[in-house]
Symmetry: C2
Subunit: 234 residues, 2 copies
DNA sequence: AGTTATTGTCTCATTTTGTGACAATAATAA
DNA sequence: TTATTATTGTCACAAAATGAGACAATAACT
């Protein structure tokens, strides 16, 4: 029997959002030799906080620390239990299923979403997967198990939180223009916003620090750059 | 070794809100012979959905089905792990700790809050506890482990959701006056609200059905009764 | 110097919310 | 019967927030 290293029955999945080409994208893993696509996830060590485990996984997948991270739901239906899928994945990687039988048990999964600066990420697959790549939300491959449902709930929670907090800035580099911020909001909410109203609203919140202008080389007035006043919105 | 009946390492806790005497109250259990106070909680059977397990527990504690229920956070810090506390509880109830050693393991806990009609509830202790009783939020006894923190997060989530949904009605009987609804909102938000603004706002949402007046026997104009138009807000 | 595309800000209309006023009314007191 | 009292439903007006457009300012190009 294997040495017990992780809490049994407990997994986490993460929906890692990035923003590029005016679109919301998330990181998706592809397992070796199986055609299975899945959210980045992992297990919790016996002596490790749940949140620490998730941040450890995020670091491995993205190379980043200090990521904006929010737990949004724990999925615990029996229907999640599909031992055949995990068995296929393990066997396709040459693992001895008997030794890893704990991975074939029923799992509940605590789901998190993360918001990161797309340009800073170095997507990195794990030992079981060929690739870890960005996919636009409207062009996701078929995801295994209930991962599609997890993505949808993540997006819904992100939308709800957008009204209350200023989480959108976590998807941008430290300095950004008002137009870039608006594009992020539009991508998250899935609708066009009115430029002047958006600008007035954002400035009235007093969370943005104005910096020098950005001269892009384009033939028009240069926009101001902004940064977010507070560190690590949580 | 015990017969495995529940998922190891996984528990749930529930913050069950009721409204009485113009105050928010929650159900608290007191364990036999220990002086420990705790939130109602339980474990998940091997073949049972997580949500089903929680509803099963709610039914046992309150006698009610079809309760408004929302999952709000999963607590997974290592610091939650206090085997001595559970050992004390088991021993105080004459249980053989060796047979129940799985209860001394580290647990993560999925926390839910429920909103119920106070008058319909029959609080019922379980086998390990003397009592299951209502406590006003501002008069809670010292709770074991991180249960105080769980309560605070439940209240915060309830406040956040109050703005978005009409969850407050779940704390009232099917027919209620506008003033009663306002008192619920004030108890949840912890602040006084302006009568006319509140009434106009509630009516403008078009979720309330007006019924006959309620003649209370008091020397003043009788208020209308209202019911909530939709069934089971979720 | 004129053109183009975009930005920052202003104005006015519309909607929502804050605040108080007031008549209506159910039971009680005179 | 007729005041009195406490509370309710609704209105009116003020203040604040939002919607929608106008317009001058301005980088870079022609």
């Amino acid at each position: 029997m294997e040495v017990k290293e992780y809490l049994s029955h407990i997994a986490y999945d993460s929906v890692i959002f990035g923003f590029s080409g005016n679109k919301l994208k998330i990181l998706i893993m592809k397992y070796h030799n199986t055609g299975f696509f899945a959210l980045p996830g992992g297990f919790v060590r016996l002596d490790e906080d749940l949140n620490t485990a998730v941040r450890r996984g995020l670091k491995e997948r993205t190379g980043l620390d200090n990521i904006y991270l929010e737990q949004f739901y724990t999925f615990g239906d029996v229907a999640r239990f599909q031992p055949g899928v995990m068995k296929t994945i393990l066997e396709a990687n040459g693992h001895d299923v008997a030794e890893n039988h704990w991975m074939l048990d029923r799992f509940i999964s605590i789901a998190y979403y993360a918001l990161i600066n797309y340009d800073k990420v170095v997507p990195t697959p794990d030992a079981l997967s060929d690739s870890c790549d960005w996919y636009a939300l409207d062009k996701l491959p078929p995801l295994m198990q209930d991962h599609q449902q997890i993505v949808e709930k993540a997006l819904q929670t992100l939308r709800d939180n957008l009204e209350r907090k200023l989480v959108g800035v976590n998807l941008l580099p430290p300095l950004f223009t008002m137009n870039e911020l608006q594009k992020v909001y539009e991508a998250i909410l899935g609708e066009k916003l009115r430029r002047t109203t958006f600008q007035r609203k954002m400035l009235s919140l007093n969370f943005l620090q104005r910096h020098d202008k950005q001269y892009s080389g384009k033939a028009h007035k240069a926009p101001f750059l902004y940064s977010f006043k507070q560190e690590g919105v949580e």
